[in-house]
Amino acid sequence: MIDLLQYAVDYARSLGASYAEARYHSHKSFGITSRNGLLVSSGSSISRGVGVRVVVEGSLGFASTNKIDRESLKNTVEKAVNIARSSSKILKVKILFSRERLGRARYNVPQRKSFENISLEEKISLHKDLAKRVAEKIRESKLATLVFSYNEDVEEKIILNSDGAYVESQIPRVSGFVNIVLAHPQRGTIQKSESIGAVGGYEKIEEEDLLNKMSSLTETMEKILLKGKEPPKDPVDIVLGSEVVGLVMHESIGHPFEADRILGREAAQAGESYARPDMLGSERIGNRYATVIDDPTIPGSYGFYLYDEEGVAARPKYLLREGVVNEFLHNRATATLFNVSSNGSSRAMDYRSEPIIRMSNTYLQPGDRSFEELIEDIRYGVYIKSYMEWNIDDTRWGQRYGGLEAYEIINGELRDFIRNPVIEFTTKQFFSNIIAKSKDLRFYAGTCGKGEPSQGVPVWLGGPDVRLSKMRLGVIGL
């Protein structure tokens, strides 16, 4: 394989490419989907091929094939070179990759409990047990639907480029998606989706304690459905749970700090950014509690990697440091334009995907309070522990989160359930209004979408519980 990749790189260079890379990229996956414990379908997939990227006359070309032989790679290289040249006619700013010390490495993440060694019966019984445990918790409402998807995947890559990178890796991942809908004839319906995901083997599913978590969630959902009351109309103290906070970090700091987005490369797709190059090191968009980090090197994390697709070593990036814009996410092309070094943020979903700037595991640095300390002096407030939906504008400034599990806080104690609260704020409002943070850092799995064609890559979103100063809540449907 290495010989073939080297051939592709050398051939591209011989055709006039100033830079060339070839990436062998494979995914071998298996998944099971059930509804209310009954199997809907089961599927496996193999995705395997080579993606070639070239710079020709300053223009970037990418081509891929899943026919892995010399002839096919020759055609693929020619195609990448030709289309790069074709589109160079209206090029104004040439692509130039930053000079970097590139990796020559091989790394594998072991599976403590290999997917292969766990029987299908055991994986299916997880679906049945989940449905049983969820159903047991329901008293007055009806389980409208419980959809559970289990997925395991092994990703293998060999990255080789004309600047000397050679990185080989194997990363196993396991993930699950649960959607629970409860219905009540008078109180309507309530819905919650949960995603779990980690790098490792089947042991990661066991560590998630899915059955207990979903059983407890179902019990809570029914209480919200039956007893939840409307959110207060006046501004109140707000505590946001780590699940909501993690999402805010991803959406309002992670995405807008992607340098390609800042430069307008995603303008017609995932959008632009409120962040500008001149904000670095000076612009304050939050207070001293606002430190946000993106770190691909967290062991076991869903967004784990040690080298990016350009062969640059991964490291933690302090995007926002104590409220001040500190660092953007870069690949080698944007690093040149910002006159910095790449921080290893180039990722591709699969062989047919162009490497682009992505997040990995993005989180708000935790504080030093216990949860009890966070709420102890709140006379009247609302704690929004989890969300059911959200959206954000395309510069990542105005955003809205619809809460699911939410409680009234009275005199420092959690009381009645609040149903369907909506919190809507700008990025600066959120980061300027943090009063305190808990010390509990929790992570949640997600699949982040970006690019054209759209690529989904695994990420973690994380943070502590956060107390905000007074804000007004809305209500879903009004």
Binding site: L38, L39, V40, S41, S42, G43, I46, S47, G49, S59, L60, G61, F62, A63, S64, T65, N66, K67, S72, T76, I83, A84, S86, S87, K89, I90, L91, V93, L120, I124, A144, T145, V147, V181, G188, T189, Q191, G264, A267, A268, Q269, G271, Y351, R352, E389, W390, N391, D394, G398, R400, V422, E424, F425, Q429, E452, S454, R472, I476, G477, L478
Partner: protein, 443 residues
């Protein structure tokens, strides 16, 4: 290609599977992405995608492989057999249907314009960029994307057919100062004028939003006109809710509805038209080998049919609409029937409200009720007395699809084949006016 597939079907059948369907696609695709009025990347894909549908004792296994190596599939067979033996019968299982063996593949789906685009995409990128600037745009972003596809289906009960088609998409976001406008086109082929119209319409909305006074509006209920871009995004969700599987799984806001129910205003008719040679998802046969046909999904506001494959049709005791998807049925080309208004008349007719050019991030708050919110992007024009009185930024539609469908008050007479990053189905749609739509924004 079909005899290779039918041989593979035979070999898989004799290995022990009860039913086998193979879908094989050879795809050749080229895309140029534009940002800051220049190409940011040119991309090309050439690949063979193979999907297998396998059953044994009512157990279902679906496998996808991006490989051109058929021997690899045969090497995988023992593992697939082991997998299917360990599964349990699927509650949605139904026997694969007697296929329509005599169906003729559509022969007019390959367009020269798209093939020419793939040979030299830079020329067409230049047309888009130049036109956007000519129309007053200060910068433009977007994409031009063309593909050739050969799709073959072979089943263990004797269906073997291949069909060739092309598809072309172009969309643009044009900026004028801090305002932007967006437009898109998608079809089997194109005329360079389609590319120019995309640039012109996007520039028009950018200029209108830029020219108009920036104003604030209060959250509340407004009459709105949605362009075909916004309607296209909504139709994606509405068509998903019309899937028979969504009804069976209870994940559709139409789950409690049945054919005959009034679910939309009577001026709304939605059809699925699989034989249109100018649209990009046309086909003569579905993934089960059934001959496709035109289907009316909603007629004058009345639900006429869910979208079915054999499984969902069997459970719901009806006939397949030939929209397989082995597990999830899917529509081919969706068309909303036009109304009587030209676009200026719609604005005058509405008198007061918002004209929304584009949206994204549509998310359900409650999928069973169809409650969602979506963020507007690009131009949102405030209309007073039938004229543009201002523009507004960062508002959301937070409403429910059933409510929007009931509150339709007008449709444009021109249909647009539109497509972009947030519209992934082949659609042909008019402008639409809806009253009493809930609009929210941050304080």
């Amino acid at each position: 290609m079909t005899h290779v597939l039918s041989d593979l079907v035979k070999r898989l059948s004799s290995a022990g599977f009860d039913e086998v369907i193979i879908s094989m696609e050879y795809v050749d695709r080229t895309m140029v992405k534009i940002a800051n009025s220049q190409p940011s990347v040119a991309q090309s894909w050439s690949e063979v995608l193979i999907d297998l549908y396998l059953t044994k004792d009512k157990k279902i296994l679906v496998t996808s492989m991006t490989t051109s190596d058929l021997d690899e599939i045969l090497r995988e067979t023992p593992r697939l057999l082991e997998q299917i033996n360990s599964l349990e019968p699927s509650f949605i299982y139904a026997k694969i249907p007697e296929p329509d063996r005599e169906v003729s593949p559509l022969t007019n789906l390959v367009k020269n314009s798209t093939m020419k685009f793939m040979e030299d995409p830079g020329i067409y990128a230049e047309i888009l960029v130049n036109k956007a600037h000519e129309e007053g745009g200060e910068r433009v972003a977007g994409a031009l994307d063309g593909y050739f596809k050969r799709r073959c289906i072979a089943t263990s009960n004797g269906f073997e057919k291949c069909e060739d088609s092309t598809g072309f998409t172009v969309y643009a976001r044009v900026f004028v100062r801090d305002s932007s406008g967006h437009w898109g086109y998608g079809g089997s082929g194109f005329d360079p004028r389609d590319i120019e119209e995309v640039a012109t319409k996007a520039a028009y909305y950018a200029k209108e939003a830029s020219r108009a006074k920036s104003i604030n509006i209060d959250p509340g209920r407004y009459n709105v006109i949605l362009t075909p871009l916004v309607l296209g995004n909504f139709i994606d969700y509405i068509s998903m809710a019309l899937s028979g599987l969504g009804k069976i799984l209870g994940t559709s806001f139409f789950a409690k509805n049945n054919p005959g129910d009034q679910i939309a205003n009577e001026m709304f008719t939605l059809k699925d038209l699989p034989h249109r040679d100018d649209m990009m998802s046309s086909t003569a046969f579905d993934d089960e080998g059934l001959a496709t046909r035109d289907n009316i999904l909603i007629e004058r506001g009345v639900l006429k049919s869910f979208i079915h494959n054999t499984k969902t049709a069997t459970i719901l005791e009806t006939r397949s609409t030939a929209n397989a998807g082995w597990i999830m049925p899917r529509p081919w080309n969706l068309r909303v029937e036009p109304g009587d208004f030209d676009e200026e008349e719609l604005v005058r007719e509405m008198r007061r409200g918002l004209l929304i050019n584009n949206n994204w991030y549509t998310r359900y708050q409650n999928v069973v009720e169809g409650q969602f919110s979506t963020v507007t992007r690009d131009a949102v024009l405030v209309i007073e007395n039938g004229e543009v009185a201002g523009s507004v930024k960062r508002v959301r539609i937070a409403d429910s699809f059933p409510s929007l469908l009931r509150n339709i008050r007008g449709l444009g007479k021109r249909l647009y084949k539109t497509r972009w990053w947030e519209i992934r189905r082949s659609v042909e749609l008019p402008y639409i006016m809806i009253e009493n739509v809930n609009i929210t924004k941050p304080e």
